[in-house]
Structures are given as C-alpha cells and as structure tokens.
Symmetry: C2
Subunit: 320 residues, 2 copies
C-alpha cells in the first residue's frame, strides 16, 4: 500500500461513519472515493463534509490543509467498481447486518485490487462472520472507529483467524499515518475492547441506580467531573501507575485487596429489566426531555470538537 | 452554616489533599484555617499553595480572585483547637488509618462548634467506622474528593446511618458554593461510587491483559483516545442516552442483549496474582521507566490543569 505515493482509499457506505472517515483520510492528503448504494448518498456525504470543514479548519483540526484541498480529494462515485478501482485500502461502513455484509464482501473481494486491504467499521460483528468464504479473506479485518472518527482517534484492529499479520501491520501504519490511534487485538472477542470496557462500567452503573445508591446524574458526574478528568488524556492504567509512589505494582500491592473485594461484590449479574431501564430512562428525561435530544446531540458535537482541539493543543505543548 | 457571612473552614491534615482543599475554599472567598499535627506542615502547605496559585490564576482557575486575595485567606495554625474555633465546616484529610481517624474524631467532635459539619476526605473508610461513639456523630459524613480537588471537582458525599439529612444538604450546598460537583450516595457502600466504577473498568482491563487480548497501552488508548473523549464532559449515562435516536430506552432496547451477554462473560473474577501484576508492571515500565515516574506526574498535573481550564471555557461557551 504505497502510502508515499498518494494511496487511494475507498469508502463503502456513506452514512455518519463513512462521512467522518472521509474527513480523516482527506485531511491526511489521501484521495478518497465515496460510494453508497443509495442514490445520491455519496454526493450528499460530500456536501455534509463541506459544511463541517470550515469549523474544523478554524479549530486547527485539518492538519494544516485548507477546506478546498480536503474537499478536492473526495470523489463521490456511482458504482462500487469505480470506488474500488485502484484502491489501496477499503473502509466498509455498511449497516450492521450480517446478511448485508456477507453479500457486500463477495463484491468487495471480487472488485478490489488483490493488494488492497479491506477493513470493516463494524462495532459488533467479527470479520470471521462475513469473510470466511472469500477467496482473499486474509486481507480482511475489522477497523472499528469510535464515532465520529475525525474527532475521536481510537480505532480497534481486530483480525479474523485468517487475517494475515502483514494486513494488520499495514492497517496500523495507515491509521497512524492519518493521525488515528490504532490498537491491536490479538484475536476476535465479543465486544472487542472498547465495548467490553464500556460494558463493565455500564453494568456497575446500572446496579448502583437499581439499588438506589445514587442516580444517573451522579454516575455521570462521578465520571465526567471525576474519573474522566484523567482518563481523557491518560487512560485507567497510566492513571493507577502514577497514583502510587512506586508505580502500578506498588498501587496493586496497596489497593489490590480492596479491588479484589469489590470485584466479588460486583460479579453478580443484574438483568437490565424493563423496570430498571424505565427507571434510568425516567431519570434521564428529568435532565433532558426527549424533545431536546437532537439539540443536546448538537451540543455534544460542538463540545467534542472544541475539547478534541484543546487536547491536541495541550499534547503539542506538554507532550503526550 | 452562614455561607453568606464569610463561613470559616477548618482543614485538618495538610498533605496533598488538604493543601488542594485550601485552594478550593480560598479561591471561593472563604477563610481557611490549616492545621497539621506535624510541626511546620501547615505553613509548608501554604507555601506550596503560594507556588501553585500564579499558574492557576493565568489559567482562569481562581474564580477571578488574585493570588494575594486567596493567600490572605489561608491561616496556618499550630493547635487543633485554634483551627476549629469558630469553624462552620471541618474537612479532615488525615492518613487513611482507622485508628488515627477514631482518635482524631474524638478531638474534632469535642473541639468543633456544635453547629459545625465534620467531613472526611477518606476514599475508603465509611464514616460509621470512626464516628459511631461520638456525642455529635450526626454531623459527620464522608466528603471524598478526587485528587487534586482544586482541578477535579467531583466530591462524593456519603452519610453514615446516623448522619443527619440536613448535614448532607448543607455539605452539598457548601460544595456547590465553591464550584465543586457533589454527588450524594444514599448510604455507605464499599468503594463508594467512584472506586466501584474504577474497579469495574480495571477488573475488565486486567482480564484483557491477562488473556493477551491486548496490552496495557491499548487499554489506555481505548479510553483516552476513545471512550474518554465523551466521558470527559458527559459521563457514560448521557453518552448512551444520546447514542440512540430515541434515547437511553431505545439504546437498551437495541444493545441491551449484547451488554447482557458481555456481562455474563465478564462476571468471572480474575485474581490479581503476582504474575498478572508483574505483567502489567513490566508493560507499563516499557512506556515509562520507574526513574521517570515523578517527571511524568508533573506532566500529568500540567495537562490536568490545562484541560480543566479548557473544559471550563468550553462549558462557559456552549453550556454544561
């Protein structure tokens, strides 16, 4: 994959995820073909990008590229074969339905150049579930972004049992070259890493609310005003490593017994019953009526862009 | 507690936590007495604050107060009774040893004015463990900060079974008046909320490393470059509420089954064996040699201050 020679990226599926990917690759200097089977969706995706870019430019989130430079690299096309033709890397962001992906991957594998990597944005389906019977299945893997990838850099690389190691390595290098933060899983596992970590915290949060220890607003404050202040730039492992004089081993020596005791209590599974979900829903609606969900999402996206920019600036100033 | 009439705060214990508390109360306009049984420690604490304040001022983290205004309110004293005399609120930040706290609380309860609230910064000991036999135990509770409280606003309020409701309410109001973010637990529970949430995510992270699914650096990236980008300003419950068109009930309807399946897998307890801790330690040391722990802590504190300031600015601009 000739990253040095203007590699060509094909984005298949131009919903929210594909659209955001086009910004990631376009601002990194790559030529990007956009395809979506829905008529006009790829062109619409480029229009969405055109509206988003000026703000990203103002915030310094276009890697020094101009809005026009980025836009000029995005090429909506009408046919899948035109998107894949000459591509070095294919990022598939189709709906999360196994039947759709299985059918689509037959075409992707047939039409993409033999040397192209084919990566799926899926958050839940392992690549083995939709690539098993392909002729060149060794070039397929999952590259799961967190939405929207142009603001949230993490990408989980999850190989199927037959994914070739060099394919994972090339994808990792590609992601780094566009300033994403790839992590490599050694093998497929339900929920990958991100959703497993999210699951762990949600399971405990739901229990605390179920038991009336606190409310959903307290959970959010505990993270957003507490734990999340460090996790935003260090993550939980470095956090504990720095929280004891001798590092993480010292930390575990002192606090391991407490965590082990807590783990025993926390192991009990609490079903997400209709009642519990209803309780959480009704508490959330006191903070935010359903009619304001869309407006709050726009607020979230503005905050996310501003804080992503601030984080990049702080990283540039103090190191990462 | 006459917040309107220049309430007086007594800080008992002037280590890292007490020192940071003095900034919280001082910049809010409160008179603060500092006491520590170690000779000279209270005066030393004020000197530490004097060094920290100029940077906080530059970052807009002194609520518009000047460095000198804040400093003038901090009064190191040599005797416990002088610290407590006339106090409205006592924040105890003594070592986390039950024997020390039990003995200390006898003195605090005897010497503090009857109307004063007495709160402990303890992260692990329930107030019931060291206040049971006090004459005025109903005015005691836990007010657990996240370090350092002058940059991380969360405070967990945890009542003992005998803590009076008005004491919790007054402490909550006091914390809000100094721009901290108090959450109220309905009752004592091991680990309170913050350490339970941290425990849940660490337990899963340790398992993923134990099973070689990924390394400690991948865990940190999954949070710092992924989940933590939203958790920094929204928390996990609002995150999922906004991640489905119809809100959290819709989210649970769609993804609940996946999380329930994950929860079953995640329930298994994995002991933090010496081998596992050693593995985590050795992976961390590849990122950061032990000799650089102190330097990295200074980096962490600079980043935390800069990002806390950025978050406040974003909140001022877009709302919270």
């Amino acid at each position: 994959m000739g990253i040095q020679n203007m590699p060509k990226v094909a984005l298949v599926g131009c919903g929210l995820v594909g659209t955001s990917w086009s910004i990631v690759f376009g601002r990194a200097g790559y030529d990007v073909a956009l395809f979506d089977p829905a008529h006009g969706a790829a062109a619409m995706s480029k229009q969405t990008v055109a509206k988003a870019l000026p703000d990203l430019s103002t915030r310094g989130l276009l890697n020094g590229q101009t809005v026009q430079q980025v836009l000029d690299r995005l090429q909506p096309v009408d046919r899948l074969e035109d998107a894949l033709s000459g591509s070095d890397y294919v990022q598939e962001s189709a709906p999360e339905r196994i039947g759709i992906k299985r059918q689509l991957y037959v075409d992707l594998d047939r039409l993409a150049p033999p040397s192209a990597v084919i990566a799926s944005s899926t958050s839940a389906l392992p690549a083995s579930a939709f690539t098993e019977k392909l002729a060149s299945r060794g070039r397929c893997l999952v590259a799961h972004p967190i939405n929207p990838p142009h603001l949230v850099p993490l990408v989980e690389l999850v190989p199927a049992p037959w994914t070739r190691p060099d394919v994972v390595e090339r994808t990792e290098a590609l992601m780094k070259s566009v300033r994403q933060s790839p992590i490599r899983l050694s093998r497929e596992i339900d929920g990958f890493v991100v959703n497993r970590l999210q699951s762990a915290i949600l399971a405990e949060a739901f229990k605390l609310v179920a038991d009336d220890i606190c409310g959903v607003g307290d959970i959010d404050a505990a993270v957003a005003e507490g734990l999340g202040m460090r996790w935003f730039f260090m993550g939980p492992m470095e956090t504990i490593d720095l929280n004891a004089p001798g590092g993480v081993a010292d930390y575990c020596d002192k606090l391991g017994p407490m965590y082990q005791e807590l783990a025993k209590e926390q192991a009990a599974i609490r079903p997400w019953t209709k009642d519990l979900v209803g309780k959480i829903e009704s508490q959330r609606r006191r903070f935010l009526p359903e009619s304001q969900l869309a407006e709050r999402r726009a607020w979230r996206d503005r905050c996310l862009a501003a804080l992503a920019a601030a984080k990049r600036e702080v990283g540039d100033e103090y190191g990462r």
